[in-house]
């Protein structure tokens, strides 16, 4: 059970949240290859990962989390518009 600091509500147990993986904006123009990458390809790094979670059983807001996928240490969470590029 991870403990995730919702930027709106504070630290809460993982079971209150739903995972959103890497956020990828919709490409405006896309050939089949680009479209396929958008639909199906998401990052799966070993190490730090900037991912999204939503506080489903709380404030229902999406936010970003920077988590190490090898140790599960969460180094930062924050509002979506403050997510590092």
């Amino acid at each position: 059970m991870l403990l995730i600091a919702c930027p709106y509500c504070g630290p809460r147990e993982e079971s209150e949240f739903r995972y959103g993986s890497e956020g990828v904006p919709i490409p405006s123009e896309a050939d089949d290859r680009t479209w396929a990458r958008f639909l199906y390809y998401r990052d799966s790094p070993a190490g730090l990962f900037t991912e999204r979670w939503v506080h489903t059983h709380g404030c229902r807001q999406w936010f970003y989390v920077i988590r190490d996928t090898l140790t599960h240490e969460i180094s930062a969470t924050g509002k979506l518009d403050e997510a590092p590029r």
Binding site: L2, R52, Q61
Partner: protein, 936 residues
């Protein structure tokens, strides 16, 4: 062993009766089941897994390798419980089953609870290091939780009889601190990321069944701590030698614990130790008047104080000597050993051989989250090389084996932890401890069998894994300790291989001629100690397994005799059988009412969403495949929402209640997902758009009233609404008073294909609405109908159910809904339609079918082929919906068939278990193709 006349921490004034394999025995309050058995002269507690050799208790704690039993006196019979951890109580009943247990019964009378706790500092282990840490943390004002697996606090202090007064004072201080909680009989079992811990606390299982009352047997704690101090101590390891598994061979520290805590001692004890610590057992026996046959020490004479004390006390010490084999009596219990000394072999008689192969830090909790370790050559064991964030390790667990170091480390750990969580430690002085000069331990690991027969030199008692097995593994080409483990199953027992792993690694290192440090030991998987399923389930069983969601009208359904069907977490009426009526008959009756008279259905579980804002239209145009902007205020439109890949996410009805306000329905099963979907897009892709989404699913009850007479029934209940076809056409939405409920919403939408009105009122008024409709409709023959009848009605109309007629890849075109897909605008999913596979002509498409035999109802799911042959047959499609139609007077259904729309009129075959049923493919709409009844 025998019980000494005095001493120990047992209550001799409180004898307890317990049963072992049906025999009634006596112990005392304060005994464990293990100590009680030993005290009652039961030295053989079972036979081993593979060889059937007699085994006895091997320790006084977590290292126990043989002392497991089936406990019969809990709420249910429980297998493989560690006897050194079972507190004795009156009426305890246990059965000898050391290798395999059994499950006895469905009925478990035990109660198990869960608790959730948060603290600043969690201290795991109440030995000297933990006690120091808890004191420092507690006196600084932090909220402290301390957990100790043993029934008593003190750890090594109890075993070694040290600082007992200080311990008592310390825990009195801790007990008086309002923000400090000390839990005993509480094992920290699993560590969670971000400093959580799962702790299993034994409560009711420590007292008589008759005294248990309402106590839960065990309680599972979920603890979140800002900082954790691991002061879990060190465990002693055995030495491997021939016949090292006889009852009466124990760990030296265990023997000492039995002496001091439970007043148990041998007639004539012998110590075999590679450490100075082992001498304590000999000295303490001696001080208690127990005959000590000697101390066997493979090391040469050294400068250690304890060996000198032993010699001064007249205890015989044999240096540079080893035990090379043992002898047993007729029951298999140890009666003598053969010692190999520099001057030859000697047989020494003993009934308890206390063995110390060294101590190793107990680091399971640190290792669970891959806490790093390094090999300590002095201890011959891994010690932590660093800690996980906001964790500290102190004392023997940290490789600091002296009492003095444990105390100072525990205090330091607490100080650092406090600083990290924002508290300031107060000054604290450790109690005075003597410094004892100790020689370094040696690493013997194993003694070669004198006759070369390594098949009785046990590396793992629980698994009957011997030196011979490890040799075979290495001979097979194995080099890695994990392969040794899997090849020999050494280390996979209930005790997690605690007393086996290091010796196995050392042996492997020796056989492969590598240093132990490079071999390592196999990893540690949680939990530290087994957790019963019931404990993990807690109260979430039976009715509490998962919440039941019911509508406000549920009571009426129950009263009407409804048979319910789970729909997600909801319970929905499936049909309303009259006494003695079959489901089929009930459904026919309900369908007949809906098509020829009037019927009502509780559709409150449908998702209901209020969506409004300046960008509401814009947003809905993105989400839905059909046009939304053209929807007039006061009208509804059947709408399809797609995923990005073009598949149908959900269907529903979008109603425009104002220029920028919409009332949207979603299917019951996808209601939450649709709201989630909307919120995700708005927050992540279009945060600048002003759209407000509110779920109203549980704010409104909705009843559908359907049938040619529905208008007449509703008329008198809604006097201020003009329900005529002209004023209130199909797909219109109005508000008005219905059944005395003001501001009811009435929508002419129809899933049944009949004239129908869906009435929505505030949730709590649903039952009143329902009851009004039923009584108003009585003269018209109104009936309630459920899911099953709805299935028939909607499928007669070719209306799909998303997830039944469609699956995860079905597009609107596949489902015959291409007509509503907008050609003008872009929307979520549109881009995907252009992909080659989504344009393929042989995609499964929705069709209707009619079985050749009009009275035969095909099973849903039946596969359809064009040619019948021995398998394999090419599958052309499958039946998604199949019913008897009261309206059509025959069976019918819907199917997804490859390229189905171009195949109307074709005959396919459904090979079933016992027959092949031909079917003709037809249009999906079987009834009222023009929709005249719906439009009425």
């Amino acid at each position: 062993m025998k019980r000494l006349p005095t001493g120990g921490r047992i209550r001799r004034d409180r004898p307890l009766r317990f049963t072992w394999d049906g025999r009634e025995l006596l112990g005392f309050e304060g005994d464990t089941l293990a100590s009680a058995l030993l005290g009652a002269g039961v030295d053989v507690v079972g036979t081993s897994a593979s060889f059937g050799r007699p085994r006895g208790i091997t320790s006084a704690g977590l290292e126990e390798a043989s002392g497991f039993a089936q406990i019969l006196s809990g709420g249910a019979s429980e297998p493989l419980v560690r006897m050194t951890g079972v507190g004795l109580y009156e009426g305890l009943a246990a059965e000898s089953r050391i290798a395999k247990g059994y499950l006895a019964t469905d009925m478990d009378g035990g109660r198990f609870d869960k608790r959730y706790a948060h603290c600043d500092v969690l201290v795991i282990g109440a030995g000297p290091a933990g006690t120091a840490a808890a004191l420092v943390a507690s006196t600084a004002g932090a909220r402290v939780i301390m957990v100790e697996a043993d029934d008593e606090v003190g750890g090594a202090l109890l075993r070694d009889q040290e600082l007992l007064d200080w311990k008592d004072q310390s825990f009195a201080t801790l007990a008086a601190a309002p923000e400090t909680r000390v839990l005993t009989s509480a094992t920290a079992a699993t560590m969670l990321d971000q400093n959580g811990a799962i702790v299993a606390q034994r409560i009711g299982c420590r007292v008589s069944p008759s005294a248990r009352g309402g106590l839960c047997e065990q309680r599972l704690w979920h603890v979140r701590a800002k900082a954790i101090v691991l002061s879990t101590g060190a465990l002693e390891r055995p030495i491997v030698f021939q016949d090292n598994d006889r009852p009466g061979i124990l760990l030296a520290s265990g023997a000492r614990a039995y002496l001091h805590r439970w007043a148990l001692a041998p007639n004539r004890g012998l110590v075999f130790t590679t450490t100075d610590d082992g001498y304590r057992t000999a000295l303490d026996w001696h001080a208690a008047g127990v005959e000590v046959a000697g101390v066997i020490d493979p090391r040469p004479h050294g400068r250690g104080e304890l060996p000198q004390k032993a010699t001064s006390a007249g205890i015989r010490v044999l240096h540079e000597s080893v035990v090379e084999t043992t002898f047993g009596d007729e029951a298999g219990r140890i009666r003598a050993v053969r010692v190999r000394t520099p001057s030859g072999a000697e047989e020494i008689q003993t009934d308890l051989l206390a063995v110390s192969g060294g101590f190793e830090p107990f680091l399971d909790l640190h290792l669970q989250r891959r806490g790093p370790t390094r090999y300590d050559a002095t201890l011959g064991a891994p010690v932590p090389s660093s800690t996980l964030p906001r964790q500290w390790i102190a004392g023997a667990a940290n490789g600091s084996m002296t009492l003095r170091d444990s105390l100072t480390e525990g205090a330091r750990a607490a100080r650092e932890a406090l600083a990290a969580v924002g508290f300031t430690a107060k000054d604290w002085t450790p109690p005075t401890t003597a410094h004892i000069e100790e020689d370094a331990p040696s690493f013997l690991w194993l003694v070669p069998a004198p006759d070369g027969d390594e098949s009785r030199s046990f590396v793992d008692l629980f698994r009957d894994g011997t030196v011979l097995g490890v040799e075979r593994a290495v001979g097979a080409g194995i080099r890695h300790i994990e392969h040794v483990k899997r090849y020999t199953v050494i280390g996979t027992g209930v005790e997690q291989g605690r007393s086996a792993k290091t010796n196995a690694a050392a042996l492997t290192a020796r056989l492969t001629e590598r240093p132990l440090a490079t071999v390592g030991t196999s990893g540690s998987r949680p939990p530290v100690e087994p957790l019963s399923f019931r404990l993990l389930a807690g109260r979430a069983t039976g009715e509490r397994f998962e919440p039941v969601r019911t509508t406000a009208i549920h009571g009426a359904h129950v009263a009407l005799g409804a048979v319910f069907e789970p729909n997600g977490q909801w319970l929905r009426p499936n049909h309303y059988p009259r006494p003695g009526e079959s489901m089929e008959d009930a459904v026919r009756r309900e369908c007949r009412a809906a098509r020829t008279a009037v019927a009502v259905m509780d559709v409150s579980t449908l998702g209901k969403i209020d969506l409004r804002g300046p960008d509401a239209v814009w947003f809905l145009e993105q989400l839905y495949a059909n046009a939304i902007g053209t929807l007039p205020v006061g009208k509804a439109r059947y709408s399809i929402m797609c995923r990005l890949d073009g598949s149908i996410l959900d269907d529903g009805v979008v109603m425009r209640t104002a220029e920028d306000r919409f009332f949207i329905t979603a299917s019951t099963g996808h209601a939450a997902a649709v709201v989630d979907w909307m919120e995700e897009w708005l927050q992540t892709e279009w945060p600048d758009r002003r759209v407000f989404v509110t779920s109203l699913t549980e704010q409104l009850s909705t009843v559908a009233i359907v049938g040619p007479k529905s208008r007449e029934v509703l008329k008198d209940l809604a006097p201020d609404l003009d329900l005529s076809k002209e004023a209130f056409p199909f797909l219109a939405v109005r508000r008005g008073t219905v059944a005395g409920i003001s501001e009811a919403q009435v929508a002419r939408v129809s899933f049944s294909g009949e004239l129908a009105f869906e009435v929505s009122v505030p949730w709590d008024l649903g039952a009143a609405l329902w009851s009004s409709l039923l009584s108003e409709g009585e003269p018209f023959g109104i009936l309630p109908y459920g899911l099953e009848a709805l299935q028939v009605l909607r499928s007669e109309k070719g209306y799909i159910i998303v997830g039944q007629d469609t699956e995860g890849t079905t597009t609107p075109y596949d489902a015959g809904l291409g007509w509503l897909v907008s050609k003008e605008k872009d929307f979520i999913g549109k881009r995907s339609f252009a992909r080659p596979a989504l344009k393929a002509p042989d995609r499964p498409q929705l069709v209707g079918f009619l079985p050749e035999e009009p009275s035969f109802v095909l099973p849903e799911g039946a596969g359809l082929v064009s040619r019948v042959s021995p398998p394999p047959m090419e599958i052309h499609g499958h039946v998604t919906t199949s019913h008897w139609s009261e309206t059509l007077g025959r069976s019918f259904g819907l199917a997804m068939v490859k390229g189905g729309r171009a195949r109307h009129g074709e005959t396919l075959y459904a090979p079933l278990e016992d027959r092949v049923v031909p079917v003709t493919l037809v249009d999906a709409v079987h009834y009222d193709k023009k929709g005249e009844r719906r439009d009425g």
